[in-house]
Amino acid sequence: MKELHHISSQAVLETLIERYFNGDTTLEEECELRWALSHCPWESETIDDARVVMGYFAAHRHYKRHQAANPLRRRMMGIAASIAVILTIGGYVLWHQSQPADQCIAYVNGVTINDDEEVMALIENDLSNMDNAAQGMASQLSSLGEALETEND
């Protein structure tokens, strides 16, 4: 019996398909074509049409799925998916924790003040005191600068 399965390229396969549809193929070539359509990885409109017509489409998909179902690959994909889920949940939890809730409250001599305006007035007083101190330092530096300039003159 003649040795089959010598379709070496997509072009050779497509030529064979064309010949098949023109009714120019021998029985041996048709056997070879059937085998190639169910086992080769090539895809094109001509090849897919031939698979549909010759009933090998499902067989080819099964073959491809079988190829993809590598256990190690599936395991790695599972691990990657688990990591992605954990990181997403973790990221959300961290983000949520880092967002402080709305609060505007003061405790003065043990008395709680919830009024926003009163609290803001207390803050302004604190900041004003800080500003006075900062200005004092700035004016000291300015006086020092002036004194140095006078001495240099």
Binding site: S82, P100, Q103, N109, T112, M130, G136
Partner: protein, 148 residues
């Protein structure tokens, strides 16, 4: 698979614990001890009110008790040693005024203000104020804020 999940979870919880605290010594002053104390004022502003100033947290403590004032000063000086930028003024060997820019954390700027009004030249008062601010506001914006 189980081992990998365990390692990931451990790393995740460790990083959560590390991020939950901002690593400042003055943090221990914000444990609520001044909320009921006589002669003390504690202010906490977070959320929308703070955001108006480019902040996420405004937390201050004002005390009149000298012992507490010393504790606050010591903790501020400790944190101040880690500051990336500072403006300080000492009087009679004591910290009078301090503005510290602390290292950024979680892409957030952190600032500490300290003022001991007992050392003021004009009308000294037995009052020590500590302010902690956190947010996206720059140091320049914070300075503008106190000059309002």
């Amino acid at each position: 698979m189980k081992r990998i999940t365990l390692i990931i979870l451990t790393c995740l919880f460790a990083s959560m614990a590390a991020m939950a605290q901002n690593g400042l010594n003055i943090n221990r002053l914000f444990d609520g001890r001044y909320k009921k104390a006589a002669g003390a004022t504690e202010i906490i502003v977070t959320g929308s009110q703070a955001r108006e100033y480019g902040l996420t947290v405004y937390h201050s403590v004002t005390v009149t008790d000298k012992t507490q004032a010393e504790i606050i000063e010591n903790l501020v000086v400790k944190d101040g040693s880690q500051a990336v930028d500072k403006e300080v003024e000492y009087r009679n060997g004591q910290l009078y005024y301090g503005f510290y820019t602390m290292p950024r954390q979680k892409r957030t700027n952190r600032y500490i203000f300290f003022l001991n009004q007992n050392l003021a030249r004009k009308s000294p008062k037995n009052v020590v104020t500590l302010i902690y601010m956190e947010g996206e506001a720059s140091a320049a914006k914070i300075k503008k804020l106190i000059r309002k």
